[in-house]
Symmetry: C2
Subunit: 139 residues, 2 copies
DNA sequence: CGGTATCCCATGCGATACTG
DNA sequence: CAGTATCGCATGGGATACCG
């Protein structure tokens, strides 16, 4: 994403980025919170964290659990999540190398939120589909 | 929302979209739930729904609230969300046209989840940043 | 098994301009 | 005010091939 040319000219928006101890929320364009949101709320981030909420998993198990993800994307997202302190990577030295990913305490909090999201979608997907058809058909 | 429920777990045969009685969750690649997740969990979808959780808003107010969004993206996302039955679009016939967007009951449920996410990020962004610096510095 | 590197295309998204 | 249309590029992300 690019810089916001208008800067922080938000009217009434809470949080001034850069101010010491200021409350910076994800609604503000130029603040770190937005960056974290884009990481974590990416196409695969949600599913990976939600999957790891079910327990630690090895690479291929995780790849299996998150349907449709490529190894490249899994690896890439996992590195980003580990860098952000949300997941941990543990290597057990064995003849077949054994790498396990797990949630950190920080990641566990997020995982709970995302599990809630996944659950909501499972519950409401029919309603959304019905609304979509009603909208397309009726219009 | 759920603490850590296995509610979204796989029950029986996974990965067969359209199978009668099959529970289709967002972990499955080719199911509608995944599609909904990608819509709703997009870069702007989260912020738009979270913003509308504060109350109905007109176009430019919403554009102001969601820092950095272009009018094109706002319009595009708003149409998608309305099509999915998550937001409503109300036009008041006036000399300056007055259009107000609001959450539907369905959208309100999602908005609550996303507000939780935004709040979490606001709370934990410092921890993530610290972890990132520790990772980069130590590496 | 658990990755990384390269190629390449699809599309998300911003900038700009135009409309009712 | 509240959008839509068009252009163009940066990025996301799949396919494939290769490495420890």
């Amino acid at each position: 994403m690019s810089e916001n040319p208008r800067g922080s000219g938000e009217s009434g928006a809470p949080g001034v980025p850069g101010a010491p101890g200021a409350l910076s929320d994800a609604f503000t364009a130029d603040c770190p919170a937005r960056d974290v949101l884009n990481h974590v709320g990416s196409r695969w981030g949600v599913l990976i964290l939600a999957a790891l909420g079910e327990g630690p998993m090895r690479f291929h198990v995780l790849r299996d659990r998150v349907g449709g993800i490529s190894e490249k994307m899994l690896s890439q997202n996992l590195r980003a999540l580990t860098r952000d302190g949300l997941t941990s990577r543990t290597v057990e030295p064995a003849s077949p190398p054994r790498v396990t990913y797990a949630l950190t305490p920080l990641g566990h909090e997020l995982s709970s939120l995302f599990s809630g999201l996944v659950d909501w979608i499972t519950l409401r997907v029919d309603d959304v589909l019905a609304a979509r058809e009603a909208h397309d058909g009726g219009h």
